[in-house]
C-alpha cells in the first residue's frame, strides 16, 4: 500500500498540475529529495535538529482524567510540546535542510494561522536562509501575534490582498512568486498538499510522529492502539501519525472541521470537511477532493480553527479514504470548543482548536465502540494562539 516516490500519484489522486515553468524545479526537487532521504549525513543532521532544536521525541501521555470522562483509554501524542508549539517544525526542518543541501538561497512559504509560517521562520533563522511568508491579509490581522513572532525571527511577512485574503490565496501568491523565482528559491509547502513530490515528502518528514508512537505505545501497552485519531485540514499531522501504521491493524480516523454544519452555497462552505463533503477536483497542483461549486469554482471554506480552514486536502488522504483505509469524520465548531475546555480542565493541557476537533470526535464516538479500547489522539499543537478566538466565542 505504501507509495513509491517515483510515482506522482496515489491511485487517481495527486499528480503535477502546475505551470510548465515549475516542472523542471519539481523534477529537481524530486531528484534531490530522493537522493538525500537515503543520505546518512543528511539524516544525521536532521535527527540532530529534531532532537536538540525541536525537542523530540515528543511524549505519549496517558490522559487518565480525560479517559475516565470520555469512557475510553486515551493516549495523547504531545506535538504541542514541539518547539514552536506544533508539529509544523518536523516538516520545515526537513525541507529547510534540503534547501541548504540544494544550495537555494531563499525560502518562500504560505501560512494560514501562522503556525507553518512560524516554523519556517525558525528554520530560516537557524539555517541562515532568507525567508518570506505569504499570509492572507485577513489572517495577518486575526493572527497578529504570529506575524510578530515571524518578524522577530527575521522573516518578512507579505500580506495577500487578493481573493478571499486567506490561506488559499496565500498559496496562490506563493506559487506565483515561485514561478518568477524558481531558480533561486525553494517553496516550502506546509502540508501534505500541492503537487508531487510535496505530499510524499511532507508526509515522510512528518512520519517521525507515527514512528515514535509505535515505540512508545509498545512500551506502555505492549501492543498497538485500536485506533488513531487526528484532525485533518491539509492533513500533515494526520499523515504523519497514520503513515507508519498504514499496514497494521489500527483504525485511522481523519477528523475534519465541520464548521457550523456541512452546508454550502455557490461561493462558500460553512465548513472545511473536504473528505466528508468534497468532490474530485484539481487544486494547487494536485487532483484531490475539493470544496467546489457545480462549475468547479473553489469555495471559500470556514472553520473556527484557522489551520483546518482549507478547501482542499492531501491527495493521499483522498486515496486512503476511497479505498477505505482511513475513516473521514468531522466535528463541529462548538463540539471542538467544548473538547478544548475539557482538556484544559481535566488535564491542564491547552490544545490547539485544530487538535480539539480530534478530541471532540473521540468524545462523541467512544460510546459507540467504534474506536476500540485504546486510542491515540494526535495533539498537533498547543492552543495559546487560539485564546483570543476562544475568548470571543465565550462572550
Amino acid at each position: 500500500m505504501k507509495q513509491e516516490l517515483k510515482s506522482t500519484k496515489f491511485g487517481k489522486y495527486g499528480g503535477q498540475f502546475v505551470p510548465e515553468v515549475l516542472m523542471p524545479a519539481l523534477e529537481e526537487l524530486t531528484g534531490q529529495y530522493e537522493k538525500y532521504k537515503e543520505d546518512p549525513v543528511f539524516n544525521e543532521e536532521l535527527d540532530y535538529y529534531l532532537r536538540d532544536f525541536a525537542g523530540r521525541p515528543s511524549p505519549l501521555y496517558h490522559a487518565k482524567q480525560l479517559s475516565r470522562e470520555y469512557g475510553v483509554k486515551i493516549y495523547l501524542k504531545r506535538e504541542d510540546l514541539v518547539h514552536g508549539g506544533a508539529h509544523k517544525l518536523n516538516n520545515t526542518l526537513g525541507q529547510g535542510l534540503l534547501t541548504k543541501y540544494m544550495g537555494k538561497k531563499r525560502i518562500i512559504a504560505e501560512t494560514g494561522a501562522g503556525q507553518h509560517g512560524t516554523a519556517c521562520a525558525m528554520v530560516g533563522a537557524v539555517f541562515g536562509i532568507k525567508t518570506e511568508v505569504y499570509m492572507g491579509a485577513k489572517d495577518t490581522v486575526r493572527q497578529r501575534m504570529n506575524v510578530y513572532r515571524m518578524e522577530l525571527m527575521g522573516t518578512k511577512v507579505i500580506p495577500v490582498k487578493s481573493g478571499s485574503q486567506t490561506l488559499k490565496d496565500a498559496i496562490n501568491e506563493a506559487i506565483r512568486d515561485w514561478v518568477a523565482n524558481v531558480e533561486t528559491t525553494h517553496y516550502m509547502i506546509g502540508s501534505v498538499v500541492g503537487m508531487h513530490p510535496y505530499p510524499t515528502m511532507v508526509r515522510d518528514f512528518q512520519s517521525v510522529i507515527g514512528k515514535e508512537v509505535r515505540t512508545q505505545i509498545m512500551e506502555k501497552e505492549g501492543r498497538f492502539p485500536d485506533s488513531i485519531v487526528a484532525c485533518t485540514g491539509g492533513g500533515s499531522n494526520a499523515m504523519g501519525i497514520f503513515h507508519p501504521f498504514i499496514d497494521d491493524d489500527v483504525d485511522l480516523f481523519a477528523v475534519e472541521a465541520g464548521g457550523s454544519g456541512l452546508k454550502a452555497t455557490d461561493k462558500e462552505a460553512l465548513h472545511s470537511a473536504t473528505l466528508c463533503a468534497g468532490e474530485d477536483g484539481v487544486l494547487h497542483g494536485a487532483r484531490t477532493k475539493v470544496l467546489q461549486n457545480k462549475y468547479g469554482q473553489i469555495l471559500e471554506s470556514s472553520s473556527i480553527a484557522a489551520g483546518l480552514d482549507y478547501a482542499g486536502v492531501g491527495p493521499e488522504l483522498a486515496y486512503l479514504a476511497d479505498i477505505g483505509r482511513i475513516k473521514p469524520r468531522y466535528s463541529l465548531d462548538n463540539e471542538a470548543l467544548e473538547a478544548f475546555h475539557d482538556l484544559c480542565r481535566l488535564e491542564g493541557i491547552i490544545p490547539a482548536l485544530e487538535s480539539s476537533h480530534a478530541l471532540a470526535y473521540v468524545k462523541n464516538a467512544a460510546a459507540s465502540g467504534e474506536l476500540g479500547d485504546v486510542v491515540v489522539i494526535n495533539i498537533s499543537g498547543r492552543g495559546d494562539k487560539d485564546l483570543e478566538t476562544v475568548l470571543g466565542m465565550n462572550k
Binding site: 503535477q16 505551470p19 515553468v21 516542472m23 523542471p24 487578493s162 496562490n172 518568477a180 484539481v282 475539493v290
Partner: protein, 260 residues
C-alpha cells in the same frame, strides 16, 4: 476557423499574428462581445477568451482582477459557451482556462462544447504535458488544438515531448513569472525562440504591451505575439473601452507588420 489556416494565411502575406487575450465576462458577458469585435477591427488575428477560474495561479494582478470582475459579473462555463456561440467573427477563438473547470465539466463535454460553440483551441496553463493525455486525445478527435506552453526553464527533454504534443501554436512564456505588462523584453526570450525548433507556429506571450516590443519579438523569429494584460488594463479603466482596445490592437499589429 482552424488556427493552422490562420497562420498559413498570414504566412502568405509574410505577416506575424496578433493574439489578443481578454477575460470573458469582464465586466459583463455583453461587454465581451463588443470588445471582441473591437479587437478584430483593430487587427487581432486570433482571440484568446479567458474562462474565469477562482484561483488563477499563473496570472498576475491585472488579469486576476479581470477574472474577479468576470466572476462577480456572473460568468459561468454555461454562459461562456452560449456567448461564444453567438459571436460573429471569422478568426480562430481559443479558450484559456484552468484545469479544474474542464475536469469538473467532464473532459469530453468540455471539448464538445468547444467544438459546437466555435472554439478552435484550448490553453490550460496548469496542465503540463505529463497530465494531458486524455484531453489531448479528445481534442484530436474533435479537431480542436491543444496549445502547450514552454518556458525558459523547460529542459531539452521536456521540450521535445511538448513539441510533439502541441498543435495550433506553441505558447512561449517570455520570462519567468506570471502574466503582466512590462517595459522590457528579456534576453531569455530570443534565446527561447531559438531553442523551440518546430514547424508549429511559435507565439510569445507574458509582458508584451506595445508595438515596439511586438516588433522586437517578431524580429527575433516568432510567428506571433500574445498580448493580454495591456488589453485587460484598458477594460479595468473602463473609459472608451472599444476604441482603446481597437487602437492598441492596431498599434501592436503595425509593430508586427513593420518587423517583417
Amino acid at each position: 476557423m482552424r488556427i493552422s489556416e490562420k497562420f498559413s494565411e498570414l504566412k502568405k502575406r509574410d505577416e506575424g499574428a496578433l493574439i489578443a487575450y481578454i477575460c470573458a465576462g469582464d465586466p459583463t458577458p455583453e461587454g465581451t462581445k463588443e470588445y471582441v469585435t473591437a479587437l478584430v477591427r483593430g487587427g487581432a488575428d486570433i482571440i484568446e477568451l479567458g474562462l474565469p477560474f477562482s484561483d488563477p495561479v499563473a496570472d498576475g494582478p491585472t488579469i486576476q482582477a479581470g477574472i474577479e470582475r468576470a466572476l462577480n459579473g456572473g460568468m459561468t462555463p454555461d454562459i461562456y459557451f452560449r456567448m461564444v456561440g453567438s459571436l460573429k467573427v471569422h478568426i480562430p477563438l481559443v479558450v484559456m482556462t484552468y484545469y479544474n473547470l474542464i475536469f469538473k465539466r467532464g473532459l469530453e463535454k468540455f471539448v464538445k462544447d468547444c467544438a459546437s460553440s466555435g472554439i478552435s483551441g484550448i490553453i490550460v496553463p496548469d496542465l503540463p504535458a505529463e497530465e494531458s493525455g486524455e484531453l489531448a486525445g479528445l481534442c484530436e478527435k474533435n479537431e480542436i488544438d491543444l496549445i502547450f506552453l514552454v518556458a525558459p526553464t523547460t529542459t531539452e527533454s521536456r521540450m521535445e515531448q511538448i513539441l510533439t504534443r502541441g498543435t495550433g501554436f506553441i505558447y512561449l512564456v517570455a520570462r519567468l513569472g506570471v502574466t503582466g505588462a512590462r517595459s522590457d523584453i528579456a534576453v531569455s526570450t530570443s534565446e527561447l525562440i531559438r531553442r523551440v525548433r518546430t514547424d508549429t507556429p511559435k507565439a510569445v506571450g507574458f509582458g508584451i504591451s506595445n508595438g515596439r516590443q511586438a516588433a522586437e519579438i517578431i524580429s527575433a523569429g516568432a510567428d506571433g505575439v500574445i498580448v493580454g494584460s495591456a488589453f485587460v488594463d484598458i477594460i479595468a479603466k473602463g473609459k472608451d473601452v472599444p476604441n482603446k482596445l481597437e487602437a492598441l490592437a492596431s498599434e501592436l499589429k503595425d509593430g508586427i507588420k513593420i518587423a517583417r
